[in-house]
Structures are given as C-alpha cells and as structure tokens.
C-alpha cells in the first residue's frame, strides 16, 4: 500500500465522530483545501452543529448495525477518519464506554479492510501511557502502555489503541492505518475532560503537585490529521507541540480564581460529587494532574516536517483563554 495519498485523486471520506468539535474542524479544513471531496460525517449521537458546506453531509448511525456496512458498500470511501472515541468527560458507564470504544473500533477497521479503504486514521490518546511517577520525559511510541495498571476505568483507552495497532501491523499489506496519540487537545470547540477542567472557574488546582503538560490546539490537531493523510507512512505517532507548560500556570492563565487544594482533598471531592457537572475531571484522571506524562513528537516531525505545529503549548493555552473571555 502506498503511504503517500494524493487527496486530489480521492473522492469520498468518512469521518466518524461528527458530533465532536475535532471532526467538524478537520472536515472543514479538508473541504477548504480540497473542495472536490465529498465528506460523510457520522456519529452515534445527534449531530447538532453541522458544518455549513454542501459537500459535507452528516447522519446519526450505529456503527454496529447493518446500515453502517451499507454506507461503506454504497460510498466507496478512500479515507476513513475514526475520531469518535468516547472520552471520559461524557457521562457513561465504564462498561458501555469499553464496549463502544473497543468493539466499534474493531468493526470500523474490519469494514475498512473489507471495502479496500486506502488509509484509515484512528485517534487514540496519550492517556494510554499512564500518568506514573516514574515516567520519563518525552515518552516515545514504543514504550509500554501502562494506563490501566492503577485504574481499570482506563482499560478502554488502552484496549482501543491495541485493537487499532494490532490491526495495523496484521493487515499492513492491505490497509495503511495510522494511530495518533495526541496530548491534551484543547480549544473552544472541544468538549473533553481537560478543556472543561481548565475552563471551569471553581474546579480546584492541585496545591501539592504541579506536573508539566503539553497542550495541542484544536486547529493544530486538525492540520496534523490532514498532514498524516497526505504523507505519513503506516505507524503510531505521538502528537504534541513543542514547548511545555506547568499545569498550575495553565490553570492560572485560564481561570485565575481557581482555588488551590491538596490533591488528596480533590480526590475525595471527586468521589463525593462524581464527574458530572461540578467536578470536571473523573477520579481516575486525577493522576494526570499529579504526575507528568510528556510525549515525544520526534517521529511525527520526521514525516511532517519540523514546523508542522503552529502553536506551542503556551500559545494553545493563551488562545483558549481568549476564546473563553
């Protein structure tokens, strides 16, 4: 399979997870750059905000039902973007999330193979490496995935990534697939746990821990996904911009009134109020604001160039603050 895809020769693209901000941004970028493309965006949830382009259509569909296969059969997709991982900010039981993320990813990849899709991009997360006190700075793609060692709730994150990577190597002759593990994606259109946590004025900032963080702006990750379609070879890539920022500084820039409390109190608070409306970070993600989990972007830069990121972590935070004002 060729690793370089000429999008000028492609016609149909399937974007999974269209109810999310990242899918909307990526689709818009694609259409602006390649106006001849036809994008079909799908989601299991209702797609409320549709991009206003005539060649982007959206529909609600269950990935395990037969009409999903019918869509593949009738549209002959050249590229499939799987951006529909269910994150931990959404109120959903772990078992259901595991089911959706793992089973449906396997189903999507199976259909990609069956209908000879040229390239599939699967969006995983840096959470797979786990936030542990002995993490080295700049984790590379070949290090073990240790996220679920402490918290079984993160099993879906690791298993989905492994389904994608196993499939990638097993079928590398038939399908060029790419697994992306981005750092925390933030932006006004992103509704994940980290963005909500940063934007919330009253969620506490840890007083006794201050890990170093990487943040990628929503526009940057959109451009990186397109760059990966165009010129990245099969493989796994960490996605993080240059530059880091301490968590306390990031929170201070966006919500300076946030109270500072010791992390053990934050953990108890998370247990008490749950992860729904008041405390915007689930208990099992608290370790990510306790210990650093920095990823190396060297592998991605080899293929997309040294200047593939527009914003540093600090600039991504500044932009989020501006949009929140």
């Amino acid at each position: 399979m060729s690793t370089i895809i000429d999008l000028l020769k492609c016609r149909n693209i399937l974007v999974i997870g269209m109810a999310g901000g990242l899918a909307r941004i990526t689709s818009t970028f694609l259409i602006k750059k390649y106006p001849h493309l036809k994008i079909i965006g799908i989601d299991e949830r209702e797609v409320r905000e549709k991009p206003s382009y005539s060649n982007i259509s959206c529909q609600k569909i269950k990935y395990t039902r037969s009409n999903f296969e019918k869509l593949f059969r009738s549209c002959h997709f050249d590229i499939v973007l799987h951006l529909g991982r269910i994150g931990h900010a959404q109120s959903m039981r772990s078992k259901k999330r595991l089911d959706i993320n793992v089973v449906e990813t396997a189903r999507i990849l199976e259909l990609c193979l069956k209908f000879k899709v040229k390239k599939a991009i699967i969006l995983s997360t840096y959470h797979v490496y786990g936030a542990l006190p002995d993490n080295q700075a700049f984790i590379t793609e070949d290090l073990p995935l240790r996220a679920s060692i402490k918290y079984p709730e993160l099993r879906d994150v690791v298993e989905m990534d492994q389904v994608a990577t196993n499939n990638m190597w097993k079928h590398q002759q038939d399908l060029t697939s790419i697994v992306l593990r981005p750092c925390s994606i933030i932006g006004p259109q992103i509704k994940n746990a980290m963005t909500s946590y940063l934007l919330s004025k009253y969620t506490p900032t840890p007083l006794d821990y201050n890990p170093i963080f990487q943040f990628i702006h929503e526009f940057d990750i959109g451009s990186i996904i397109i760059g990966c379609i165009e010129r990245a070879p099969i493989g796994i890539y960490n996605v993080a911009p240059d530059g880091v920022i301490s968590f306390r500084d990031a929170k201070k820039i966006i919500s300076p009134t946030s109270p500072h409390i010791p992390i053990f109190l934050a953990e108890q608070l998370a247990k008490l109020v749950g992860s729904k409306n008041y405390f915007k970070l689930p208990r099992y993600l608290i370790d990510y604001v306790k210990f650093p989990c920095l990823i190396s972007n060297a592998e991605l830069k080899k293929h997309l160039g040294q200047d593939c990121f527009r914003y540093t972590s600090q600039e991504a935070i500044d932009l989020l603050r501006l949009s929140a004002e």
Binding site: P133, D134, N135, A137, F138, D208, I245, H260, F291, L294
Partner: protein, 302 residues
C-alpha cells in the same frame, strides 16, 4: 483555600521577623544575582520539561544561603578543579539520611564555583510521589534519575549531579559511615554515550546530620519506602527533623576524562575498571577529608 503565593508571603514575613535578611552578606546577594544571570541564559530558549523554575530556584537559594554559610559552614576545597567550560557529570558520595548533601552541592556550584552551574540532580522516583517535595525538588532542578532523562539533559549541554550509590548511600548504619557503597555503572555508560567528562567530588560532614540508631528494612519494604532510617534525633519530636550543625567540606577532585576508546555498550569489564577508578578517587578524597575536617563542636563555637 491556600494559594502558593500566600505561602511565599508567609515565608517572607517569617524571614523578615527572624531578620534572616540580615544574615546575608551584600557580596553574597550580588554574587547570586550575577551568577543567575549567567545561568538563566541557558533556559531562555526553551521551557524545561522537568519543571525547573529558574526564578523560584534563585529565591530558594537566597533563602537557604544563610544556612549554607552560617549553619552548615560549607567549605569548598580545590574549587579550581571545576574550572571547566564544558558540561560535566558530577559524581559524589551520598551521605546523611535525607539528601541535604545534594542541596548543599547545588548551592555550592551556583555560588562558590566558577563558572557557575545549576546542577540537575538525579533523584529517586519515590520523591516524585511525595506531595510538595516532588514539586519543590523539580522546580529547583531535580530530575527523575532515568537514563533517557540524563541523556536528554547531557545532550543539551546541562551538567548533572549523580550519586551512584543511590539509596544505599544515605541509608548506611553508623558503623559504615564514610565507607562508600558499591557504585552502579550506569552513570559511566551515560557519560560515554554523551561524551561528557566526570568531576568526582566528596562530601564530609553530612553523615553526622542525623545520628542513626536503627534501620527497619522490613517496615520500609511494607510501606513501599526506599529506606526508613530511624535516627536518635526523632526523640526530640518534630524538632528532630532539623539536622545537626555538622560542618561540611566539599572537596572537588580532578576531572576524570572520559576514555575515547570505549563504546557506551562495551562489556562490563571495560566499564567496571573506570567505575572502580572513580570510586577509588572519591574514597581517597574522603580519607583525606576525614583527616583534615573541622572539629564538630569547635565549628559550633566559631
């Protein structure tokens, strides 16, 4: 709710009350300021992924300098040996029950050694799990003692501080004071890999900070701690955490140039020879230091 700034305010008020500022000599303050201007140059270009905060580090050194000068009475012997304009891997014996020696060495290399360097000390992963201490250490330049972290720092021209004895060094029984524990060879392979020369140093005086009574290894393992030294100082209650005012001598050895004819992945026998040589050099410096050290109570009277 507590804000980190309010803690800083409280600390500065306490220091004003205790007239700590008066303990500073004007020369010292000017020296710290000018040395930090030189050190800061390196960190302007990129943000530090390990959490170093150069401004906070300067503030901490300013705060600790009276203790360094007047309580621990640190004396640097042969500072001219460190006059070297390339990055260095500083290797030291590890003493005392908590790593105060690392803090004193770091201050020494910022204030009393030319050219000034901010040593990045390699720390145990256990430290990162501790609330406040992990962040405090990271802000002051400490880095998890991981091979890839060391490589990253050395490749960017930073100087690092390594204690090859590890936890074994600081958890010795009284009878083993100033007897170095076996050196691991990892540091030498890293120096070979990065092509960085080694500066051996020895610290005399830190073993006496906390007179050791007992070392319950079983309890330490059960609590998942790297060591649990129970010192006689604990009989004083919370005051027992204050180290005894043992005078400190930091002796700077001769630079050990890294051999050019050995690969970083050379067999153990080639590497072990050099590791043993460095250990021998530090042990000799310790022996000289023990003969020339200041009298403990004499130093207090002075």
């Amino acid at each position: 709710m507590i804000k980190p700034n309010s803690i800083n305010n409280i600390l500065s008020k306490i220091s004003q009350k205790l007239a700590i500022d008066k303990l500073f000599s004007v020369t010292d303050m000017a020296k710290v300021e000018s040395n930090f201007q030189i050190i800061s140059e390196k960190y302007k270009a990129h943000s530090d992924p390990f959490g170093l905060d150069i401004i906070k580090t300067k503030e901490k050194i300013n705060l600790l300098l009276p203790l360094y000068r007047n309580y621990f009475k640190v004396r640097i012997i042969n500072p001219e040996n460190a006059q070297y304009d390339r990055p260095l891997m500083v290797i030291s014996n590890h003493t005392g029950q908590i790593p105060i020696d690392a803090m004193l060495i770091t201050i020494a290399f910022v204030t009393d050694i030319n050219p000034p360097r901010l040593l990045r000390s390699m720390v145990e992963r256990f430290l990162n799990t501790l609330p406040f201490f992990g962040t405090w250490a990271a802000e002051s330049g400490a880095v998890l003692g991981d091979r890839s972290n060391c490589q990253w720092l050395l490749q960017r021209g930073e100087s690092i501080l390594v204690f090859p004895e590890g936890v074994r060094g600081i958890s010795k029984s009284t009878s083993q004071y100033y007897q170095m524990q076996r050196f691991t060879s990892g540091f030498f392979r890293l120096a070979l890999y990065a092509g960085v020369d080694i500066l051996p140093i020895s610290v005399i005086g830190a073993e006496e900070f906390y007179p050791l009574v007992y070392h319950p290894w079983t309890i330490a393992r059960a609590l998942n701690l790297p060591a649990l030294p129970l010192s006689a100082s604990l009989l004083l209650g919370p005051l027992g955490i204050i180290p005894l005012p043992s005078p400190i001598d930091i002796r700077i050895g001769k630079i050990y140039s890294i051999p050019k004819n050995i690969e970083a992945d050379a067999p153990d026998e080639f590497v072990d020879f050099h590791v043993n040589e460095i250990q021998k050099q530090i042990q000799e410096m310790i022996d000289i230091g023990l003969r020339e050290r200041r009298d403990f109570f004499g130093a207090i009277k002075k």
